[in-house]
C-alpha cells in the first residue's frame, strides 16, 4: 500500500511570507495528524483530524497557522505570516483506527526554513 505523501519536501521562505504544506494520508485512514518537529526535539502535535472534523487543535497557533482536511482525505497546513521560530520539520501522520490497528504512519516530512 502507498504510504503517507507530503509535499513539498523542502521549503525556504523569508519571515512574514506565507507557506502551505500538503498531505495525502494512506487510503482509508480516518485520523490525520500534523506535527511540528523542531531540530533535536520530539514531534509536537499541532492538529488532529477525525475524518474531516477537528478533534484537537489546542497547540495550533491559530493567529498564524490554519489547517483543513478536504472531504476527509487530503489535508493542507498553512502558515501566514511565518516567523523565524517556525523553522522546523512538519510531519503528517495517519491512523486507521479499526481492527486493532492504531499505530501512526508518518510521511517523510516537509523541512521549512524561515530566514
Amino acid at each position: 500500500e502507498a504510504g503517507v505523501a507530503q509535499s513539498p519536501r523542502y521549503k525556504i521562505i523569508e519571515k512574514r511570507q506565507s507557506v502551505a504544506f500538503w498531505c495525502n494520508p494512506i487510503s482509508g485512514h480516518a485520523t490525520l495528524y500534523w506535527y511540528q518537529q523542531i531540530l533535536g526535539q520530539g514531534p509536537k502535535l499541532l492538529i488532529q483530524f477525525q475524518n474531516n472534523g477537528v478533534v484537537d487543535d489546542s497547540q495550533l497557533p491559530k493567529d498564524r497557522f490554519s489547517a483543513e482536511r478536504l472531504k476527509g482525505v487530503d489535508s493542507t497546513l498553512k502558515i501566514q505570516p511565518a516567523k523565524l521560530e517556525d523553522s522546523a520539520v512538519y510531519l503528517c501522520a495517519s491512523s486507521l483506527w479499526a481492527g486493532g490497528s492504531y499505530e501512526q504512519y508518518f510521511g517523510p516530512g516537509t523541512r521549512l526554513t524561515v530566514t
Binding site: 477525525q50 491512523s95 492504531y102 499505530e103 508518518f106 510521511g107 517523510p108
Partner: protein, 114 residues
C-alpha cells in the same frame, strides 16, 4: 495532562551488544497505549514496538522488547544484538485511548558503533 520523559539524550552501544532506552510517563488515564518509534537520520519515522496498557505481558518484536512497569509508569526499550542500522533517534510515545492523541518524548539518539 500527560507527559513523557526520556532522560537519556544520547547513548551508544557496540555492535552485537544490548542496550536499554528509558522512558517514563505520567497520566491519570487507564485507557492508553505506549509506543517506541525510530527515526533514522534523514528518514521517516517508523514504529518499532507497541504496548497496550491493559496487557501485562511485555511486547516483543524480534530483537526489540519492552519492560512495561505500569505502576511505576515506566516503559523501557531493550535492543538486543544491536546492528549498525539501529542507529537513529528513538521516541517514546503515549497515546490516549479515548482521544487518540499522541504525546512524544524528547527522544534518545542512539549510535551503534562498529
Amino acid at each position: 495532562a500527560q507527559t513523557v520523559t526520556q532522560s537519556q539524550p544520547e547513548m551508544s552501544v557496540q555492535e552485537a551488544e544490548t542496550v536499554t532506552l528509558s522512558c517514563t510517563y505520567d497520566t491519570s488515564e487507564n485507557n492508553y497505549y505506549l509506543f517506541w518509534y525510530k527515526q533514522p537520520p534523514s528518514r521517516q519515522m517508523i514504529l518499532v514496538i507497541r504496548q497496550e496498557a491493559y496487557k501485562q505481558q511485555n511486547a516483543t518484536e524480534n530483537r526489540f522488547s519492552v519492560n512495561f512497569q505500569k505502576a511505576a509508569k515506566s516503559f523501557s526499550l531493550k535492543i538486543s544484538d544491536s546492528q549498525l542500522g539501529d542507529t537513529a533517534m528513538y521516541f517514546c510515545a503515549f497515546m490516549n485511548g479515548g482521544t487518540y492523541k499522541y504525546i512524544f518524548g524528547t527522544g534518545t539518539r542512539l549510535k551503534v558503533l562498529a
